[in-house]
């Protein structure tokens, strides 16, 4: 997408927001100018700390998910036998909305960052696993044969065929799921923590009734989601340029 279009979209959202604020005319919906003021104010306070904690949790989950799901997907995608063995399990587990497991995971793993990382990890893990597995399994047998005829053994096939194919699948999975990851982060941070943007938004909105500060948190969380999305998008363009040629 072109930068100009993104800018135009951002301006449109701000205009709609401002109009909605004027129409509703209640403290629960302050306009973008008031929220910007609060955001700048909060950035001098505790907001950056919460932002960093949330960023760490989501980035750690992403890295953990890629590190475990990508090799697992590659192995399943390459071996028909293993795939047949595990696919019923994946088939049943994949559609379960992992967010309903939040209370269970919190009970099992207690307070701290780990249970939050685990919840997001679970969502990303299955997304990446399924996409990497399917992309490895759908590599044309003729492509594999022709690369083998050039002298490639297992290691070279992995390096020159499976790895680039799964890199593309990993990035597609991430692009599709970073939004969900941030949404689940919010839910996870409502419980058993005093750090993170989820906690910050809930505290200001439901306990302190400081709506501009709450919206500052919402903006921060949106920026986190956008930042992750843009990062994955940039990585996709840089690492898999062949998908974007015309």
């Amino acid at each position: 997408m072109r930068r100009r279009d993104v800018l135009f979209g951002a301006i449109a959202i701000l205009v709609i927001w401002q109009m909605a604020a004027l129409i509703v005319n209640e403290p629960i919906l302050p306009g973008p100018i008031e929220v910007s003021r609060a955001f700048i104010e909060e950035m001098r306070g505790e907001l950056p700390q919460h932002f960093l904690v949330s960023t760490w949790r989501v980035v750690a989950s992403v890295l953990l998910a890629v590190a475990l799901a990508a090799p697992a997907g590659l192995i399943l995608g390459q071996s028909e036998r293993l795939n047949r063995l595990f696919s019923p399990l994946v088939y049943l587990l994949y559609p379960i909305p992992k967010v309903v497991l939040v209370p269970v995971i919190l009970l099992l793993f207690g307070i701290g960052d780990f249970p939050k990382i685990i919840i997001i990890f679970l969502i990303l893990f299955f997304q990446i696993l399924v996409l990497v597995r399917d992309s490895a399994a759908s590599i044309e047998p003729k492509t594999l044969l022709s690369v083998r005829s050039l002298g490639a053994g297992r290691r070279a096939l992995f390096r020159y065929v499976y790895l680039p194919a799964s890199l593309s699948a990993i990035l597609t999975a991430l692009r599709q799921s970073v939004g969900t990851a941030v949404a689940v982060l919010y839910i996870a941070e409502l419980f058993a923590t005093q750090q993170g943007l989820g906690y910050y938004i809930y505290l200001n909105g439901n306990t302190l009734f400081d709506y501009p500060a709450m919206y500052a948190g919402v903006v921060a969380m949106s920026l986190l989601g956008l930042g992750l999305y843009f990062t994955v998008d940039r990585l996709e363009h840089r690492l898999t340029p062949w998908k974007f040629v015309e």
Binding site: E140, K142, T143, L145, S146, V147, R148, S149, L150, G151, A152, G153, R155, A156, R159, Y160, V161, P164, A165, S168, T240, P241, W242, V245, E246
Partner: protein, 257 residues
């Protein structure tokens, strides 16, 4: 150069494709293997490329028993087998990269040993195959004919002496097909190649095969061999002899079916 002695082959839990097949190919010959779909043409090519192994019998190439892919055998498959994520240049240098990746391990070793720097080698090949200015394009950005040229270039980069081609030009339009058929003959003369082309198209077999093997529906015991010494000569495709050869091949195929 190639000797098949009593070669039999069957896919697991299937009827045999070949039973006691004997065949000899001398160095520098241009062969076409003609037959209907499902007759085992592509399987024969995989056997020659060392990607499949006979259930019994022996395949020898240059007196060496075939046990796996051979460094100087080039294989070009239908639909080209190019990597979609690699540029034309990366695709062409793929075989060289793979051999560098393994190092001199005795199995994937590069031949000849004193190879020129592959950048020079590849620019010569790009020039020869009219691929200049296409180096940094991805397969999706190339036309069918250009993709096929890249597939040929990738094989030539490994300095082959045997070129195996599976329906290489079947999906191309007529002028592109003809120009690539001519190119195949030119390259064969320039590089001193033995070529074996597998096709279901009678016209293509008549153009490209100085010797033609006709396969039937499997199992194949005794294929028909036909000599076609004029193939590859300039304007052969416009001569009466070419049309007669096509008719002859068609009759053989019809009789067999």
């Amino acid at each position: 150069m190639i000797v098949l002695e009593s070669v039999s082959f069957a896919y697991p839990e299937h009827d045999p494709v070949f039973v006691n097949l004997n065949w000899e190919v001398a160095r520098g010959e241009a062969w076409a293997v003609l037959g209907p779909s499902g007759c085992g043409k592509t399987t024969l090519l995989y056997l020659l490329a060392g990607l499949r192994h006979p259930t019994s019998g022996v395949i020898r190439i240059d007196d060496q028993e075939q046990t796996g892919p051979r460094p100087r055998t080039g294989l070009i498959l239908q639909d080209y087998g190019l990597l979609p994520w690699a540029t034309a240049y990366k695709n062409v240098t793929l075989g060289l990269q793979i051999r560098r990746f393994y190092g001199p391990d005795g199995k994937h070793v590069m031949l000849p040993v004193h190879h020129p720097r592959y950048e020079c080698l590849c620019s010569t090949i790009f020039l020869r195959l009219s691929l200049i200015q296409q180096e940094y394009k991805y397969p999706a950005q190339l036309s069918g004919g250009q993709r096929q040229r890249v597939a040929i270039a990738r094989t030539l980069a490994l300095n082959p002496d045997l070129l195996l081609m599976d329906e290489p030009f079947s999906s191309l339009d007529a002028p592109t097909r003809e120009s690539l058929q001519n190119l195949t003959f030119e390259l064969r003369a320039e590089e001193d190649l033995t070529t074996i082309i597998v096709t279901h198209a009678i016209e293509e077999a008549a153009i490209l095969g100085e010797k033609i093997m006709i396969l039937n529906q499997p199992p194949n015991y005794q294929p028909v061999f036909i000599k076609n010494p004029d193939a590859g000569q300039v304007d052969y495709r416009h001569r009466p002899a070419y049309y007669e050869m096509c008719t002859k091949l068609r009759q053989h195929l019809e009789v067999n079916q």
